[in-house]
């Protein structure tokens, strides 16, 4: 012992001395290395590290998986990753439990017995593929669009679209309308990309509307790091508007509780204060937007703080004070996420919020509100052509919601039940609508159980999620640590490309998605005679990846896929230093590039370009490439006229207000005294439906009592722990109350992610009833130590369908509920939803569509609009074109920013 001590001591003094000699000490930098290698705590041997990209949630952080004796034992952040900077969140650190879930499905399963009965037969891949190919064959002969595929976390980098297009089907659906679509649609028409990158680290003032950055949001891990730098190191002030005390609100300098869905009104009133006090950046507005300061002032006159205060409950003084602080503190930034967006008119709310950094000129500034920086990658050639026939609805269009460019897939069950769309074969991929959509088992569950509506249903999933449990056939995909996938996310100010690669060989007989899809096509077209096989000539996952990456300029010179296999990410900007930041060779933090819109076009680029005399838009070969401002030719923003479109003319076409506006939710207007609004939020340690079986996360949080304010609790005679019945117009749940101070008195909040009835034994707490390994996975002895006996409650069955007529979003946070002390026959965990009532809610939401009867009532200011007939329906279908690249990337940057981003990535 003593000897060892002396030796280590000598050794370490040696290195310390050397370190002092080589590099001068950074003040406030930790001395030890922040990762990049790993030691076994028991045997002291060094472990093998393989870089990957996390996919527990969809933020896509760079990680390293460490392997010992063939087992993935640990994950850590990739220290070479510019966004992640060596850190992972609680979920990311637990990712190996996807691989080692004892209830994982490791071979194909065929249903025996009724749908959802839970009886399965193990079959071979050959049998499975033949069966699917047979069903597909029948379906595409009749109508290729009767083959449906709905995905959630699709990170296949184009493989899903390739598959569906190979089959000739346009029926590709995403989940974005239950996610954040109205945020995207609120932003895109104004500045191009579908998300912003707030430069928290360098800001002095941060306004946060309804985003729970410190727990969830895009992009929890990378952005939380920067928020802490901004608030602690840079002394920025953080102000959060939320209906409840999220961890973000709880750690903000100010939490301002708001009445749900009124953020837009507050933001407009703040704009009013800024403009009426001349605190705006007039130069910026006049130069870079399609409106003038005077127009803006005139428009904002109507939005007084008194008006907003009445709607939101936020005091007039607070609105005025925050507005002044925001406008006079530079640089300032703003961030929003699902809080303002997930409402009937969520797109308007988002737009109103976005106006604040625009009118104060904080756009593309250091410490301000920046465009996303991301990278794309080419698709392997040849590519299948786009399907000849449009589907009734898909990931990008719906006839009644032409502006909802990210789809309205949560409407699907009603359209299937109505006969609007006809399904022959239905695939799900990483999508659990039976749990995650409004209505849950009462709507999607009912639909999937009905063999007349869904004749054949295939789930490609390694887990027995609520949706997979209803399938006819389960094709076991691999969890993320066993897959090849290309990645990029604009989750910091530095663009990057990354990959996922198999850390270990797929367990059991599981196959990664792109191989499953390839094998289906090969079974369907074994000799290539149907012209399908040629799009799927990939030897394996790695080969597919080479087609993506080996020809990317600059990356190619660095080694292409081989570089990515070694580092996990490209480019490498620098090294992680002891302060947890990425620094260049001189030890200085690498600076981001700002002012992307102010890049000047070269003489070459200007050759043959035409400049529009009024808007200044520079067009070349029919494509807008920039905008002329003060005699200079800038690239501008990626909008049609290359300016910020404060006035969105595309909206006016459908009778929506093109200018920043606010609409109060009609059913919030005259709520009864005993009525409240339900919010279902996300928490730090869980991810949608898919982490309930991750033991370390379930241990930290496994139940979800309903939050309510002490005042409310007193009013209805409920204290913490009491059972309450929460009832909406379409159903109810019975759950426990958590009565405290951290929530708006008119709001009740039930976090999502709990109350599973499928998803493996740990999620539904059946671990004592049967052993693990039912579908071929290894059991985990640790599950004998499970000490909790509460799995929580899931509220989706009683949340009705609501559609933002612009953005297509589900209005998750609009539900009016009655909350009462539970009655004698109410049991904890009771959940009920009623199909007919859900159907009524669906019909009700259609009334707000531009084709609906309430649209005009809601928009008296648009009296001059010609009505739905004034719009060419066919053109409407084309109004929202599918994004060209990485359509599954929920936060993929628009092309302009992407090009600029690529430039920035030397």
């Amino acid at each position: 012992m003593l000897e060892m001590n002396r030796r280590t001591f000598l050794k370490v003094t040696g290195t310390t001395a050397a370190a002092v000699a080589v590099a001068p000490k950074l003040v406030g930098a930790m001395e030890t290395e922040l990762g990049g290698k790993d030691i076994d705590p028991v045997g002291a041997g060094e472990r093998v590290g393989i870089p990957v990209t996390c996919h527990v949630c969809n933020i896509q952080d760079g990680a390293i998986a460490y392997v010992q004796d063939g087992r993935i034992v640990k994950l850590e952040g990739n220290p070479e990753h510019v966004s992640t900077r060596g850190r992972l969140c609680a979920k990311g650190n637990s990712g190996m439990w996807y691989t080692y879930d004892p209830d994982r499905i490791t071979y194909p399963l065929k249903r025996v017995g009724a749908r959802g009965e839970g009886k399965w037969k193990r079959i071979t891949w050959d049998e499975a593929l033949k069966e699917v190919a047979g069903k597909l064959d029948e379906a595409i002969k009749e109508d290729p669009n009767s083959v449906f595929l709905k995905y959630g976390r699709n990170r296949t980098g184009g493989a899903i679209d390739r598959f569906m297009h190979t089959l000739g089907s346009d029926s590709i659906l995403n989940h974005t309308s239950v996610c954040e679509s109205s945020k995207k649609v609120g932003l895109e028409p104004t500045w191009g990309p579908d998300i912003e990158t707030p430069d928290f680290a360098h800001a002095k003032y941060i306004l946060n509307f309804g985003s729970n950055i410190l727990e969830a949001a895009y992009f929890h891990n990378p952005l939380s790091q920067r928020v802490m730098e901004g608030t602690v190191e840079n002394k920025a002030k953080l102000v959060t508007f939320d209906v409840r005390l999220s961890n973000t609100a709880g750690r903000s300098d100010e939490w301002i509780p708001v009445f749900p869905a009124t953020d837009g009104a507050i933001a407009l009133a703040m704009g009013n204060v800024i403009l009426s006090n001349d605190l705006q950046d007039s130069d910026f507005i006049n130069t870079w937007t399609n409106v003038t300061v005077d127009e803006l002032k005139a428009h904002y006159k109507q939005y007084t703080p008194e008006w907003a205060s009445k709607l939101s409950g936020v005091p007039v003084e607070t609105i005025e004070r925050i507005a002044r602080e925001f406008a006079t503190t530079k640089p300032a930034t703003l961030f929003t996420y699902r809080g303002p967006a997930k409402h009937l008119y969520g797109s308007y709310n988002e737009k109103a919020c976005m106006m604040l950094p625009i009118m104060t000129g904080n756009i593309e500034k250091r410490g301000g509100y920046c465009m996303p920086r991301g990278m794309g990658w080419p698709q392997p050639e040849p590519q299948p052509p786009k399907p000849a026939k449009h589907a009734f609805m898909n990931a990008h269009h719906h006839p009644d919601y032409p502006l909802a460019s990210h789809g309205t897939s949560h409407m699907l069950p009603y359209h299937i039940a109505n006969g609007d769309v006809k399904v022959k074969v239905y695939f799900t991929y990483q999508d659990n609508p039976v749990y995650t959509n409004p209505g849950a088992q009462a709507t999607w569950g009912k639909m999937f159980r009905d063999e007349k509506l869904i004749p054949y249903y295939v789930s490609m999933s390694p887990f027995m999620g609520e949706e997979t449990a209803l399938a006819d056939l389960i094709l076991p995909d691999c969890p993320y640590l066993e897959r090849w996938e290309p990645e990029s996310m604009p989750n910091s100010l530095h663009p990057w490309l990354g990959i996922r690669q198999p850390v270990i060989k797929p367990l059991g007989e599981s196959r990664e998605n792109r191989i499953i899809l390839r094998d289906i096509i090969h079974t369907l077209d074994p000799d290539g005679s149907r012209g399908m096989k040629k799009y799927w000539e990939f030897a394996d996952g790695e080969d597919y990846m080479r087609h993506h990456f080996d020809n990317v300029p600059k990356l190619k010179e660095d080694g292409g896929l081989d570089f990515l296999k070694k580092h996990g990410v490209w480019p490498i900007y620098g090294k992680l230093d002891g302060t947890g930041k990425i620094v260049d060779k001189t030890g200085r933090e690498i600076e981001a590039e700002y002012g992307l819109h102010m890049k000047e076009l070269s003489a070459d680029e200007m050759l043959g370009a035409i400049v529009d005399p009024t808007a200044g838009t520079i067009t070349k070969n029919g494509e807008a490439i920039g905008v002329q401002r003060n005699g200079k030719n800038y690239v501008g923003f990626s909008t049609p006229d290359r300016r910020l479109n404060v006035r969105v003319d595309g909206w006016a076409k459908y009778g929506f207000n093109p200018m920043p506006t606010f609409k109060q939710i009609p059913w919030h207007k005259d709520m009864q005294d005993d009525e409240m609004i339900l919010t279902t939020y996300k928490i730090n340690v869980h991810k949608q439906s898919r982490t309930a079986a991750v033991k370390w996360l379930a241990e930290i949080m496994h139940s979800n009592p309903a939050w309510m304010n002490s005042e409310t609790g007193k009013k209805i005679g409920v204290k913490t722990g009491d059972l309450v019945r929460v009832e909406s117009k379409v159903g109810y749940v019975v759950t426990k109350a958590y009565v405290f101070e951290g929530i708006h008195p008119k709001v009740i909040a039930i976090p999502t992610g709990f109350g599973h009835w499928e998803y493996g034994r740990l999620a539904n707490l059946k671990h004592k009833e049967k052993a693990g390994g039912e579908y071929g996975a290894a059991d985990d002895a640790d599950l004998n130590n499970v000490w909790w006996d509460d799995r929580g409650v899931h509220a989706n069955a009683m949340i009705p369908n609501v559609v933002d007529p612009i953005g297509g979003s589900q209005g998750w946070y609009d539900t009016v509920v009655k909350v009462t002390k539970a009655g004698p026959e109410d049991k904890y965990g009771d959940v009920k939803g009623d199909w007919d009532k859900h159907m009524e809610a669906y019909k009700e939401s259609l009334r707000y569509a531009y084709t609906g009867d309430l649209h005009r009532t809601m928009h008296p200011e648009m009296a001059a609009w010609g009505g739905p007939d004034s719009v060419n329906q066919e053109a409407a279908h084309q109004a929202a074109p599918a994004p060209e690249k990485a359509p599954e990337a929920e936060a993929a940057p628009a092309e302009g920013a992407e090009a600029a981003a690529k430039e920035a990535a030397h």
Partner: protein, 234 residues
């Protein structure tokens, strides 16, 4: 000035010796719990026990309400009562670095060390574990001794999203922990126990760190959790 009575195993300020410490900057803790799962992964820590955990409190009255997090772990006390109370020297303090560590093969499982630790930092490893073959002995946070000896930051520090956890040698005047402890007000947990903890908190509110009278009529949800866990109620 009179000399303080310094126990013979204290290494704080002893020239030529390293004394590792952790600083937890509560201004930066976002309660993400990444540290908790990183630590679980590092040691294959079973369910029901924790080497580190992040309790929180909600303080204030609506609408002036805040959330406070207080990450916890073994304090690697300079005068550790756990070491003192172990009859067989299965828990001991390393002179180099001040780590308080376990000799698993020696531990008889008398739990005297658990009883003597004022911080609940110690726990009994259950019979069932996923892949590590160490059972039914007492365990605790090691300050990631095996990592630190290989010049790596502890796992919880490495992943800390808020960069709330800082680790280093307090006897090195140039270390970041020295810098923080020397320039900012810090606080340790239960200083009155005389354990000389080496986890220093920046921004710790004693109202949060003290056991509150509130536990006498603890909310039922808390009691439910404790029931499920099989813990004794007050």
């Amino acid at each position: 000035m009179s000399e303080l009575l310094v126990s013979n195993i204290e290494t704080r300020g002893v020239p030529g010796k390293r004394r590792f410490a952790m600083v937890i900057d509560l201004r930066r803790c976002i309660g993400c719990d990444a540290c908790m799962t990183a630590c679980k992964a590092e040691y294959d820590v079973p369910l029901g026990v924790f080497r580190t955990w992040v309790p929180y409190r909600v303080v204030g009255t609506y609408p002036n309400v805040r959330k406070q997090f207080m990450p916890r772990l073994c304090n690697h006390c300079d005068d550790p009562p756990c070491v003192r109370s172990c009859p067989v020297g299965a828990t001991y303090k390393m002179e180099d670095g001040g780590f308080v560590l376990q000799r698993y093969e020696r531990c008889i499982g008398c739990k005297a060390c658990m009883a003597s630790c004022p911080y609940n930092a110690r726990f009994m490893l259950p019979k069932n574990r996923t892949y590590t073959d160490i059972h039914s002995v007492v365990d605790k946070c090691t300050f990631c001794h095996h990592r630190v000896m290989n010049n790596l930051a502890p796992a919880c520090v490495q992943t800390c999203i808020g960069r709330s956890r800082i680790f280093g040698d307090l006897n090195d005047p140039n270390s970041e922990v020295s810098h923080l402890v020397n320039t900012l007000p810090t606080q340790v947990l239960r200083p009155e126990e005389g354990t000389k903890p080496h986890v220093f908190y920046i921004g710790l509110d004693r109202n949060t760190s003290e056991i509150g009278r509130g536990i006498y009529s603890a909310p039922e949800v808390l009691e439910e959790g404790r029931n499920a866990f099989g813990a004794v109620k007050i």
